[in-house]
Structures are given as C-alpha cells and as structure tokens.
Amino acid sequence: MSDTLSSLVTRADVCAVAVADCFRGDGELLANPIGTIPMIGGRLARATWEPDLVMTDGEAALIANDEAVPAVDDRRYETYNPYRTMFDVVWSGRRHVMMGATQVDRFGNQNIAGLGGTPTRPRTQLLGFRGAPGNTINDTTSYWVPQHGPRVFVEHVDIVTGIGYDRASALGDQAARFHEIRRVVSNLGVFDFETPDHRMRVRSLHPGVSVDDVVAATGFELVIPDDVSTSRLPTPEELRLLTEVIDPKGTRLREVPEPG
C-alpha cells in the first residue's frame, strides 16, 4: 500500500472491506447485509473473491448488479425472491445475514425490540423481534454497528432477539447446530467470538483506533489479544470498485463519517 493510496482511504472504506471479509468462504449462499455499508461490503465481496454469492435488491428480487443500490431500470435480475420466499432461504440454512443491533453483548446476543422497562412494557419500544430469532437459530449471522458505544455494546441486552453463544450453548448441540455469530463490525473495529467460551474478542481495530478507545466505548470486558491487529486497508482494485462501481455517490461516508 503506497502512502498516496492509504491517504485516500476513509474509515468507511475500511468498514466496507471489513464487512466484505465477513463473507469470505461463504460460496454460493444468500449474503444478506442490511444497512448502507453492509450492502456495499457484501457487493464488494461478490465483485471480487466470492463471485457466487447471491444478493437482493432490497425488495423482492435477487440481482447480479455490483452497484450497492441500482436504479430499478438498471437491475439485472437473477430470480424472483418475494418476502415469503426469503423464509425458504432462511430456514434452509443458505443465508448469511448481517443485521443491525441496538444492543449487543459479549456472547453476541442482540436486541432490536425494546429498551428499559419490562419486556411487555418497554420504556423505549424499538422495531420488534423482526426476523432475528429465526435468523440466528438457522443461519450464520453477523452484526453491523455504525456508532460503537457503551450503550450499544452492553453487559446484558435488555431482551434477546437474536441469540448469542451462551443461549445457543444452553440449547444444546442439536437445537443450536446451525447457530454461528461470525463477526461484529463497527466503526471502530472488527470483533469475533473465536475464544474458548465464545466471548467477544477484538479481531482488529481500524487504523487510528486504540485499544483504550474501544475499551472506553464498550460496556463489557472484551477479550483483547496481546498483539492487536489493525484492520486491513482496501487493495487498489477494491478501492476502485468501491469508489467507481459500488458506491460512486459516497453514501458510505454518510453512514461512517471520517473521524476527527
């Protein structure tokens, strides 16, 4: 990486590449990243080393486009995938979804339903369980957090919508045999659960982020390796794809603004 190129790379680009790396090795399955940078990262994985990934148009079709959000008239349709058909994919195990998380804890439990109060009368009602229980019990799941902070990365989520490793372990091997929380990608770093008891570990921190930064922004004790990696930068070809093909309008910079 030349200094010239690295000076052109934004935090949003690093996040997109980190998302793309989540889908490495997935082969021919439905990569379903939800959110601006997740969709850009998913498209990048397919445009490069995972050409067989299947991806949605965000509505009712699976499309071949590299652009993150192609105009309706520009969509190259592979197949029809209405809402109901998505459950056929989810329940078959042929999907890797990347969801958002209003809260996530050290074992990868996710909450998108409600905050505070009681389960039946939350202080702050959110979206609802949506498809999180079904996603996490049937398929590989990752999470995207554009604003890493201690109110998102919490000791215990207020209500478990997507199940983490402690819940999966309690269910036992039979019920939890399809469960995998692969990564959490945030604006500060990349996290995984590749520890003996599946506690969340720092996999890499984005350039310019210190261990102190991420510890201060996390409400539980992260597993921190002795030698913390730095998230990789895009290759010149990946950067070209991001800026010229996948997201020429730079929507990723609105989701993760350049720090400082």
């Binding site: 958002g100 079904g134 019990i137 478990v160 039979q174």
Partner: protein
Amino acid sequence: MSETETYPAPKDKRLTEDEVVAQLSSGMKIGIGGWGSRRKPMSLVRAILRSDIGDLHLVTYGGPEVGMLCAAGKVSHLTFAFVSPDVGPAAVLEPHFRAARQSGAIECTELDEGMLLLGLQAAAWRVPFIPTRVGLGSDLHLVNPGLKTVTSPYGDGEELIAQPAIHLDAALCHLNVADERGNAAFRGPDLYFDDLLLQAAERRFISTERIVPSGDLVDAAGDITRLRINRLFVDGVVEAPNGAHPTSCEPEYARDEAFQKAYLGTAKEAEAWEAFRSEWLSFPTEADYQAALAARPTGDA
C-alpha cells in the same frame, strides 16, 4: 315440465367501506394485509377510524395503519413481529405504535416474522400448530407467554417451537385489480402474505384499485401468475382507487412521503394528532378523503 327452473345469479360481492365495517364488531381479531408501508387497505382502515367499533386485536406485518388505529384508541391487542413505516435507507420507528406500547395501552403478542407466516398458514390449513426451530433460545417467551414447544415423535426427538394457528375473525387486504366476484391480482413486486391472511379468516374483505369484468383480469393483471387471490377466500370487494394511500400500491403509485411524514410528526402532542385526525381521518366517506387529497396544493400534506 311446464315451469322453467330459475337459476341463481352469481354472487356480486361489491361493497362500500362502510358496509364492510358494518360486518365487523368490537373485540374482533383482524388481520391486515400488505407490509410496513406497502399496499395497506387504508380506505378500510379509515372506515374503521370513523366508526364506533374498537377493542380490536390486530394481526399484521405492521405499518402506519397500526399507529393510526392505536392513536385513535381502537386497538387493545397487537400480534406483531415489527411495526415500521419503512422510510429512508433504514426503517424508522412508528411513533404512535411506540407511544401505545410504552404507555401500556395495548397488550402485545410478539413473534418472529416467520412465525407469523407459520401461524397464518396453520390457521389456513386448519391444523393447531406448525413446528419450527424459529424462536428457540430467544426471549420471545417473555412477550409471548403462551408459546409452547413440541418434541418430534420420530427418532431424532428434536424439541421445536409449536407455533399455534392464528385464526382471524376478519382479514382486510388491498389488491391492484379484482372482479366483482372476489378474484384479485397483485401487480406490484410482491403479494406479501395477503392470501394467507384471507385464508386464515372467517370474514374476508379486499379493497382494490379497480374492478374489471372477470374476463379482463388476466390482461389487467399482466399475466395469469398474478391472479393469486381467488373468490373461495373473499366475501366482499370494495372498489377503492388510491385506497392504499398514503402507503404504496405499486405500480399505480408510490408511498406519499410528505403525507406520511406529516402523520408521523403528530405523535409528540395530543393536539397535533387530534388536528391531523380532524383534518384527514374524519371525512364521512372515502370519496371525501380522496377529494380533499386531490385538492391539496402540490407538495403539501
């Protein structure tokens, strides 16, 4: 035979919105079609809003109809996986629904969105439940305390969630085109779960952008694979052009973003909601509502 037998005429199921609501009553469990802010039977929702029925149990892939009915005090129970007006790149939250939930004004049965499909399918197929892995390990049991598990009777012995059938007293859906007998088609991207809602219900009502002769349905729909609602599962048809407004009804019209934004902005103060309800949801007929919409200055909600 000297007398000629008199044959009955085929049923003509055309109704007005108010005639549909006259067949509904307080306390009913009502399924609403579409999803989020897409192809919602809003003209029928408006008719409920101007009626005196209430204490409703709604079952839906929820959008602004949930918020409006909650804000109007018509809802006592909601079965849902999410409620979202689905604006912008990320779904924003539905403020009137949130206010109702947070205040304890409504009871809720929460589900994964796939479990809602299974519950409707079980009711449609007249079986008590459908087994699924969905829900295992999550906290759904805290917000859906009746949920039980079932053990596979086969050699694997696997324990699964038994999603119970969700029987509806009535279902309301909006389709792009229909005939007067209750056959109907979707012309947009997705049927969603409208067929299942109708099959799961005792009384089945659709509204539609336009009613055409049966022989014109295929042409009006585009092709036969879009004729997905059939009259076995429809009791009444309401012709309601622009009836899904402010939600979308592709390809006829997109969501009315300005109108929906104005509606979403009325949750902070009771006065704002009452003013909105008085201005937009209190017309004596759907035709008056549509006339008022058409008379708006361009770009004004």
